[in-house]
């Protein structure tokens, strides 16, 4: 129990020193850390948003829309394919989340079925079957499969993540975290946000831009009743009115090469200048040539923001979006959104936590003060209670605290405010293993055991209790980590790491210190 061969002394000492060294970059002030080589700077504890200040947003995709969109685009394709195939289909509908139509002519049913089967085939060989096909009497029904929907959601979420990434990076914010969570959620964490509302508007905007012709042959009564003529639909305008537009878009946001914020040449109000890609530009030129004198609508996320009249063909491949009460900031945001592509799904903020940078700084300062005072208080208590053994405990305690920080830095874990509480709690609890041992030594000595025997059996007998008692804490910490979210995880992590390091320091480091002292000083009696 007290025999420590030289290799063991070295390995314990070196392990402790090495792990403690890992904590050093994290403890240095920002300016001093900047002078370190890169790999050393990388070994450090990240501060959670509650300490650094910033915004945490949990966004959830409205996947219901996605299913509808898929169905509608399949409807378009189906119409075209049936027409090219010469099949006369009736009652084509997307009711009830499925695509169905009737083929009146019996002779065309096989042909219709072939077309549908071809469309329902997986995009790649061995890919997921996205649609199931069934025939009921003279109707052919195409249903999206769950696997197909899931795959579509998955794909849409990947795209959404990239889009958000581009949008946030366009703001020039440092170190944002954008990760997917579960099937249909994205977590966005941006440190040091000044205006979380602007951030939310920016990343939440679908930014689906479309140019459509305005349907002019519509009566005010029809507009009022919301009954659009065939091939048209009624959309709200930015000013709060209503307008009828063609269902078919003449050009969409996917054909945009660039978008920048600019100013109107006449009245100087902010606007957004759009540059189309080559196909988009050609198409825009053709449509504007054909429709001189007619109004067209610029539609953003389902709202008509303006509907100017085409005065002359626009051949330069550029268009200007104005109106809609743009400010420089909102125009700039729209430009960023359009540049970064549209979100394939609508995202809604389901959880938001924003902490101001000042509060975060306060929390760090108070947390550090509390940690230091708590450590000092516990140290004083240990020394008063156990004397020399209290000093060893203290060494173990300080090494333990630094080792926790070192391990956290090594794994680049995030320190949160509850994490600081976990740290302080660990400082209190870390002495437990030492207390168990010291009390046991006292007890053995009281029973009349000699110094060596008392130390030996003190360490031996205490070890079962230390082991069992710490396992219970590990169970609690693991469950907290597994089930907890955000701040709880930070707490559980610190607690978990602290349990491991405190057992390590108690049964190895302090025991070694005691053994070395006994070997060197050859004490006749124990004062404990």
């Amino acid at each position: 129990m007290l025999s420590f061969p030289r290799w063991k002394v070295w390995s314990i000492t070196l392990t402790c020193l090495f792990v403690m060294l890992l904590a050093v970059p994290s403890l240095m002030p920002e300016s001093a850390r900047a002078t370190l080589p890169g790999w050393m700077q990388a070994v450090r504890i990240n501060l959670g948003l509650d300490l650094a200040g910033g915004s945490h947003l949990l966004m959830e995709a409205q996947t219901g829309d996605l299913g509808r969109q898929r169905l509608e685009s399949m409807e378009d394709i189906m119409r075209r394919e049936l027409r090219t195939g010469g099949v006369r289909a009736e009652e084509l509908s997307t009711q009830g989340g499925q695509l169905s139509f009737r083929v009146a002519d019996e002779g065309q049913r096989t042909e219709a079925r072939n077309i549908v089967n071809r469309l329902a085939q997986p995009a790649s060989f061995g890919g997921t079957t996205e649609w199931s096909v069934a025939a009921e009497g003279d109707r052919i029904i195409m249903r999206p499969t769950q696997a197909g929907l899931d795959a579509a959601v998955d794909q849409a979420m990947e795209v959404a993540r990239d889009v958000i990434d581009r949008r946030i990076n366009a703001l020039g914010t440092r170190e944002p975290t954008i990760v997917r969570q579960g099937a249909n959620r994205i977590v966005v964490q941006v440190p040091g946000v000044e205006d979380p509302e602007a951030l939310k508007r920016l990343i939440g905007r679908t930014a689906r831009l479309e140019f459509r012709m305005v349907t002019e042959e519509v009566t005010p009564e029809q507009l009022q009743a919301g009954r659009a003529p065939i091939g048209s639909q009624i959309l709200p305008t930015a000013e709060g009115g209503r307008i009828a537009v063609q269902r078919r878009a003449m050009i969409s946001g996917d054909q945009i090469a660039d978008a920048t914020q600019g100013f109107d040449q006449q009245d100087g109000t902010p606007n957004v200048i759009i540059t189309f890609d080559s196909t988009g530009g050609r198409r825009f030129a053709r449509v504007t040539q054909e429709n001189v004198g007619k109004p067209f609508a610029i539609i953003l996320d389902g709202t008509v923001i303006s509907y100017p009249v085409i005065r002359e063909p626009i051949l330069g491949g550029q268009a200007t979006v104005s109106g809609g009460g743009f400010t420089v900031e909102t125009a700039n945001q729209l430009a960023i959104s359009l540049r970064s592509g549209r979100l394939p799904v609508e995202l809604q903020v389901v959880e938001e936590r924003t902490v101001g940078a000042d509060l975060g700084a306060d929390s760090i300062r108070l947390g550090a003060i509390a940690s230091i005072v708590a450590t000092l208080a516990v140290i004083a208590f240990m020394i008063v209670t156990y004397g020399r053994f209290g000093v060893y405990t203290t060494v173990g305690l300080i090494v333990n605290a630094l080792m926790i920080l070192g391990i956290m830095a090594f794994f680049n874990t995030t320190l949160t405010l509850p994490g600081i509480a976990g740290f302080v709690l660990t400082i209190g609890a870390a002495v437990d293993a030492n207390v168990l041992i010291n009390e046991r030594i006292r007890e053995e000595q009281r029973k009349g055991k000699k110094l060596h025997d008392a130390l030996e059996s003190g360490y031996r007998e205490a070890s079962t209790a230390i082991f069992d008692a710490n396992i219970t804490n590990v169970i609690a910490a693991v469950l907290m980590y597994y089930f907890g979210s955000g701040p709880i995880r930070g707490f559980a992590l610190v607690l978990g790491i602290g349990i491991i390091t405190s057992v390590f320091t108690a049964v190895n480091l302090t025991r070694m210190l005691v053994a070395l002292w006994v070997r060197r000083a050859r004490p006749k009696e124990l004062h404990i």
Partner: protein
């Protein structure tokens, strides 16, 4: 230097003498705690019921009535205003607005704008919005975590000791969690995600304490085959009393410093653990141990015929201590 001894060497308290009294008392208080939670409820934070919480620091203590009137006039539901650590720091809390998640996302913005109009130099320290869906998930996972922690730890103790000890641990945990919830209900401390962490910590700590005592009881059961259970429990409790006091006190010292000097945001978490340490220490003496009497634990429970506990004890000891002398 004379060393501090919290518990004198020859301490021999007859803890078990009051076990029936303690039991009645514990049952009364536990029932009262459950009743309190049932009747008065917990002050559930937005983590569990959804809604908005905005924390604002004003340059000086604001007129609360004016502020409340302004926020209520937004028609977002009844706002609750609370001082947060200092008179000029106010936490404004609002329920989930009607009209779904889109409306919820708007609500925080409106509050922010209105407060800024009233107090232009107000500083927004924190804005939190939790939707109904997410809060339900938090609630479920929190309940799961606590339930699993209790069962997991009890199962571990059952495996390592005997079934009576497992039951004892479970009863103890139930008591501790009830007491903590009762305390939270009584003081109206906001019940949020942090408090779940606190409860799990209490569960872990209380069991830590219980296990240390159980470990000693097991050791003594093996050592003193002929001793009656009640004196044996007393002996074990007295032998571990000094450790119990020193450890509890050092944790309370550390947490006390956090309460005094730490940031206000984690006050709820810290005070819950602080109180839980007292409850846990009491329960490991007066609940975990008497349960063993009622469940008739005897030294036979650890007779060598039981190969499991022996096998578990023997070899692990050696590997755990590293080098042997």
């Amino acid at each position: 230097m004379r060393l501090l001894k919290l518990v004198p060497d020859d301490t021999n308290i007859d803890f078990m003498k009051w076990r029936n009294l303690a039991l009645i008392l514990s049952i009364i208080v536990t029932v009262a705690a459950i009743a309190l939670v049932a009747v008065r409820g917990l002050n559930l934070g937005i983590d569990f019921v959804g809604g908005q919480s905005v924390r604002v620091t004003f340059t000086q203590a604001p007129n609360l009535d004016e502020l409340r009137g302004r926020v209520n006039s937004l028609g977002l539901g009844e706002a609750s205003l609370q001082e947060f650590g200092a008179p000029n720091v106010i936490a404004i809390r609002m329920p989930l607005p009607e009209g779904g998640e889109a409306a919820a996302a708007q609500a925080a913005t409106q509050v922010r704008q209105n407060v800024t109009q009233l107090h232009p130099d107000a500083r927004f320290d924190a804005v939190e919005t939790v939707s109904g869906k997410v809060s339900e998930e938090f609630f479920r996972s929190g309940a799961w975590a606590i339930a699993l922690a209790m069962l997991g730890i009890a199962a571990y103790i059952w495996i390592r000791f005997e079934w009576q000890f497992g039951v004892g641990a479970l009863v103890t945990l139930f008591h501790d969690v009830c007491m903590t919830l009762g305390f939270l209900s009584l003081t109206r401390i906001e019940f949020n995600l942090n408090v779940i962490a606190a409860i799990l910590t209490i569960v872990g700590y209380s069991l830590n304490d219980t296990v240390v005592i159980y470990d000693r009881i097991r050791e003594n059961l093996r050592k003193y085959r002929k001793m009656e259970i009640v004196p044996l429990l007393n002996l074990s409790l007295n032998e571990t009393l000094s450790r119990t006091m020193v450890t509890s006190l050092s944790i309370l010292l550390a947490l006390g410093m956090l309460l005094l000097f730490g940031p206000d945001v984690i006050f709820g978490l810290t005070i819950a653990i602080f109180v839980g340490i007292f409850v846990g220490t009491y329960s490991s003496i007066y609940i975990s141990s008497p349960v063993l009497v009622w469940l008739r634990v005897t030294s036979d429970s650890f007779m060598p015929k039981d190969p499991v506990s022996r096998a578990a004890r023997g070899p692990r000891n050696e590997s755990f201590d590293g080098a042997q002398v």
